[in-house]
């Protein structure tokens, strides 16, 4: 049995991503529950606040962003947990690729499964808040730039709390304060548009936070993962 091909780092990264998505697809309920949490949480406000369209319009950016933040956090504990329990994490750590790339792929998979669906559905939810086309576009754009950061920073929290009892609450305490800049810049960008100002500052800052997280989060998480299997 020697006719095997050697595969590249890129190919292995793709395989990790594909496997995570396959596993999630076979357990659709996990992904769906987070998705519906976002829809329901964000829809409660229009229902509770009644017909004050002006008020709804002005709170829309913050409400949608907070809902996105919380639903993203709900799925964080799962990022490394199943791999930790069944021993796959050990194998990932001693694979012939740097653990940094592995951590990055796990975070990307998390975003594809929990961040991307929010980006796609958010404009539809935004309609309930009486947002116009321009505002909806900015909402989607800010989420597109912001949710990857949530997955990246969340990955650090997930890796640090791996194997701890009551890890779920601890993740919230660790990660939510770090989410504040994303929340501020993200909802700020949408707010700017609703007030007729330029949103370019907020968007640029979201991009900057994403770039920063992209550099530091996988690195930090990979160290945390190494410690967690010791």
């Amino acid at each position: 049995m020697n006719n095997r091909q050697k595969i590249s780092a890129l190919s292995m990264m793709f395989r990790i991503l594909k496997r995570d998505i396959t596993v999630a697809w076979r357990r659709r309920s996990d992904v769906m529950s987070v998705f519906f949490f976002f829809i329901i949480a964000a829809s409660l406000f229009p229902l509770g606040l009644g017909v004050d369209l002006k008020l709804l319009h002005s709170i829309a950016p913050s409400v949608l962003w907070v809902a996105a933040l919380l639903s993203c956090m709900l799925s964080l504990p799962r990022m490394f947990e199943t791999d930790h329990v069944d021993g796959t994490l050990e194998q990932l750590i001693i694979s012939n690729q740097p653990i940094l790339l592995v951590a990055m792929m796990k975070m990307l998979a998390h975003w594809v499964l929990s961040g991307l669906p929010l980006v796609l559905i958010a404009p539809l939810i935004g309609l309930q808040f009486n947002l116009n086309m321009e505002e909806l576009q900015m909402l989607a754009l800010s989420l597109l730039l912001g949710t990857p950061t949530l997955s990246l920073i969340g990955g650090i929290g997930a890796a640090l709390t791996l194997g701890l009892r009551g890890g779920g609450v601890l993740i919230a305490l660790l990660v939510l304060p770090l989410y504040i800049p994303v929340l501020v810049f993200g909802s700020g960008a949408v707010n700017a548009v609703t007030m007729g100002m330029s949103a370019s500052g907020g968007v640029a800052l979201l991009g900057a936070v994403l770039a920063l997280a992209l550099i530091f989060a996988p690195l930090t998480a990979s160290y945390a993962l190494k410690i967690s299997v010791e």
Binding site: M1, S11, M12, G87, N96
Partner: protein, 218 residues
């Protein structure tokens, strides 16, 4: 390919491992060469698993170092990991994936692609070919164990994977299967492979092949 020309070495010098507050072992040294088996023995809790995990780079030793061909494995990192096959207590099998998918993924982690037919062939040797496409959650412990061990039949070229580290490979297997596994390990070692394993059953390998190592009460 001259498979007899392999001369890798794993050298452990002054190794010490601490678990919590307890010193499991210290000032611990040995050397293992290609074509040799190392049988690690010891009571429960004597540090067998810790030793194995340290040797494959999962745990850091409290003192001392592990050298692969005279180079520290910490410095080699991925270059070393790519040459080792570690099968631990946990089978690293995803419940939602089938046996074939699980094995293909495990192998891609060590950098190789195998096609379905090769995997089925290996599963057939272990007598679990008919479970190839079931989701792993419906399988028994013994069957999962066999699926994890199927990697040994797919990674048995000592020139690519010169070192196997096996933690209790014989548990949950029936006598017939134990025999088969022993023969396979024997074949791999004679081709120049290096195997480190723990077991509570005394395995029957030829005398010249196997080194013993007793842990605990040191």
């Amino acid at each position: 390919m001259a498979s007899t020309a392999l001369n890798n070495s794993l050298h452990v010098s002054n190794l010490a491992c601490i678990r919590g507050e307890r010193v499991l072992f210290k000032k611990f040294s040995f050397t293992l060469y290609s074509g040799k088996l190392l049988y690690v023995q010891g009571e429960n809790g004597s540090g067998k698993t810790t030793l194995l995990r340290t040797l494959c780079g999962l745990s850091m030793p409290a003192a001392g170092e592990v050298l692969w061909n005279q180079q520290n494995i910490k410095a080699l990192a991925e270059d070393y990991f790519g040459q080792v096959l570690y099968i631990g207590h946990l089978a690293s099998i995803k419940d939602d994936l089938s046996a074939v998918e699980n094995i293909q993924f495990s192998l891609s982690l060590s950098g190789y692609i195998v096609d379905r037919l090769q995997v089925i062939e290996a599963l057939d040797i272990l007598g679990v070919a008919r479970c190839a496409d079931f989701p792993s959650r419906v399988l028994s412990q013994g069957q999962k164990r066999r699926i994890a061990l199927a990697q040994l039949w797919l990674q048995d070229n000592p020139e690519r994977i010169p070192l196997w580290i096996l933690d209790e490979p014989f548990t949950a297997l029936d006598t017939n299967m134990i025999k088969k596994l022993e023969q396979h390990i024997d074949k791999y070692v004679k081709r120049g492979g290096m195997v480190i394993f723990t077991s509570h059953q005394t395995p029957s390998f030829e005398d010249g092949l196997m080194q013993d190592l007793l842990l605990g009460n040191a």
